[in-house]
């Protein structure tokens, strides 16, 4: 899509592309001293949050590669992960085996949901993002039905401590005490008082390597081709629909696994709300890292986690310090998350239009020259 971008390093376009991260660096630089939080506390929090969120955010990369934009439907995978965890904790499989079981359980659900989502998105080409966004709400309704009414009545749930008192349905919070931070603490390591979840980072690193390898495979190349131009890809003999569905399925599976890693760090599931905001926060974090709707790298993920969560930690304290009301800081960070997504979407759409216009002008120029000859 962006042929001229590679030829010359352009300061203006660089600044424009990385305006969101730069803005965030300024916000953070402004808020950190005001919040009065110690550097060691901040580093500790950032490391924890990176372990918690990076996997989830990485799951967004593949659909972007396939030109399907930000996958708001990653919530689907999160729900599959939650169902896996609920079942695993009901069967009282504890620790790492419990997590692995939850992942295994979540994968078929993720595949089904991803397949459904991919099929629908293929029917709504050009509006993938809004469709996947509504899709998350739609499947949330199905999830409510399954978890609130089917579990305990149709799907056997043995233990009363996760069931609602009425006999069916899952409680608002399911404790994951037996799995809490089991992965994070698998290989204990503390440097200067900073606790590092080594095993989690290893899992994340493996995923990063997988994504890097995947980009070079035939399927990965196909996805990029589809992302560049669907028609050209189709002419080149790529099954566009199938490739798109696969990218969504992969994203959904990864989101499911990511959600399990996320929840083992949190230590409990908020059955009806854990997943509802996860898509928004992950997407905001990715965009803060400098990604755009059609281009995102692994580096964006990590920069995004650091900047976004730094803002998230310091904003309420800084808000309280400035205005004397901590709620303002709370609202501020919610506002910033939404504003970042809004700005990124606007920049994407305007640059897309500009490119289209430039393409048209280049064609006109070429035609004029043709005529001269």
């Amino acid at each position: 899509m962006n042929k001229s971008g590679k030829t010359k390093f352009n300061l203006g376009s660089f600044l424009r592309r990385s305006s969101v991260p730069i803005m965030f660096i300024i916000i953070c630089a402004f808020c950190i001293p005001l919040s009065g939080l110690s550097p060691s506390y901040l580093i500790n929090e950032i490391v924890t949050r990176m372990g918690r969120n990076a996997f989830l955010i990485l799951s967004l990369l593949i659909p972007i590669m396939a030109g399907m934009g930000l996958n708001f439907g990653m919530t689907l995978g999160a729900m599959a992960g939650e169902i896996g965890l609920i079942l695993a904790s009901d069967w009282q499989i504890i620790g790492i085996p419990g997590m692995i079981l939850a992942m295994i359980l979540s994968i078929p659900i993720s595949i089904l949901l991803g397949l459904f989502c991919g099929k629908i998105l293929n029917m709504a080409k050009g509006r993938e993002m809004i469709t996947s966004y509504i899709m998350a709400f739609f499947i949330n309704g199905v999830y409510l039905f399954v978890v609130l009414y089917m579990m305990g009545s149709v799907i056997p749930i043995k233990h009363n401590n996760i069931k609602l008192p009425r006999g069916y349905g899952i409680r608002n919070t399911v404790s994951l005490l037996s799995m809490r931070q089991k992965l994070d603490n698998l290989i204990p390591l503390t440097i200067n008082g900073v606790k590092i979840p080594v095993a989690t980072f290893i899992v994340i690193a493996v995923l990063c390597l997988f994504i890097m390898w995947f980009r070079r495979t035939k399927l990965g190349q196909d996805m990029r081709a589809v992302g560049q131009d669907m028609e050209v890809a189709r002419d080149a003999g790529i099954n566009v629909e199938r490739t798109r569905i696969i990218s969504i399925i992969m994203s959904t599976i990864l989101a499911g696994i990511g959600m399990i890693i996320y929840l083992q760090n949190m230590g409990n599931i908020a059955t009806y709300s854990s997943h509802s905001q996860i898509g928004m926060f992950c997407i905001a974090a990715l965009l803060v890292g400098g990604a755009s709707v059609d281009k995102a790298s692994i580096g964006n993920v990590f920069l995004g986690v650091i900047l976004f969560h730094l803002m998230f930690i310091v904003a309420p304290k800084a808000g309280a310090a400035i205005t004397g009301d901590s709620m303002i800081g709370e609202y501020f960070r919610v506002f910033v998350s939404y504003a970042v997504i809004t700005i990124a979407l606007i920049m994407y759409e305007t640059s897309k239009r500009k490119q289209k216009k430039m393409g048209g002008e280049a064609l006109r120029q070429a035609q004029l020259e043709e005529e001269k000859k």
Binding site: I120, M123, A124, G126, R127, M129, I130, T131, Y133, I134, M135, F137, F138, N140, G141, V142, L144, F145, L148, Y149, T323, D325, M327, I328, Y331, F332, V334, F335, Y338, A339, I341, T342, L345, I346, Y348, E349, T350, K352, R353
Partner: protein, 353 residues
Amino acid sequence: MNTDKKEKGRLGRFVESFGLPRLIIAAFLLLLLILAPIVGADLPTQITNIIARFSWNGILVLAMVPMVHSGCGLNFGLPLGIISGLLGATLSIEFGFTGPISFVMAILIATPFALVFGCGYGWLLNKIKGGEMMIATYVGFSSVSLMCMMWLILPYKSPNMVWGLSGKGLRTTISLEGYYIDALAKILRIKIGNLEIPTGTLLFFALLALAIWAFLHTKTGTAMTAVGSNPTFARAAGINVDKIRLLSVVMSTWLAAVGILVYEQGFGFVQLYMAPFYMALPAVSAILIGGASVNKASIMNVIIGTILFQGIVTMTPTVMNNIVHMDVSEVIRIIASQGMILYALTRRTEGSK
């Protein structure tokens, strides 16, 4: 649009033109209405509820029409208009207006906000043609969360609205008792046994609906439809596409502002902070249930859609609870309304893209 029309019977054609999901929802509502007396729910009360809810929500759904007509897609940015309405409501109370006058004042005060916000929003949407819906959603979200801060910071003083303890920052819900509660519904209210009809609100809705209908038949209105159905053709015909789109967005925003005020006078409370957050989705699904598509909507769609949607919202809890003794209404509401939006988004539409 559909190529395989030949070999279908009349029923098939009817289903196609009406849309299968729409048919299912209508049949479902009919079933609920039939079941209601059987399971012991009082039918007149239920119908009163449906009519009342229709009167509250009608204008919010009507706010979709101008933007759909001009090809801006479904107005997921409805919260922006709602915020102008909320500013009107709170400022009207703050300035000390009471009774029905406060309703009129709320509309008057909301109008300049709606015009300014609408202009900005319309200008933005003109910059990003083709990606309106997603960005509209997030413009709505950002503005709601920005206003969350503003409700706390703005120097409101009225003791009926601010937190009692600290004396500043608006409450999450503000009662309209003594202000404009039932300001419209009280006018010409008809009462027959358990059946109650808020004639005033319905008339107000009818007035606005008529105004929009009439507008769409003026020269500018026809231009708006032309822009929506084929922007290239419209431009060739000498229509200023951007200006028409801007006008439609301003109209949508203003209607949303009035819509939320009408909603509040029926509901009896002003809801601030995160309340407007998801208010666009019910309105969007209502108009889609009524037969609109991403680039086509009529006043009839608004009326049918609001009745069907609000009918299901009011009827399912009572009827379903009586039948299966569990409250699946929330699930049904989510699946029906979001499913409807999904269905509409997957339809191939001409003119868009």
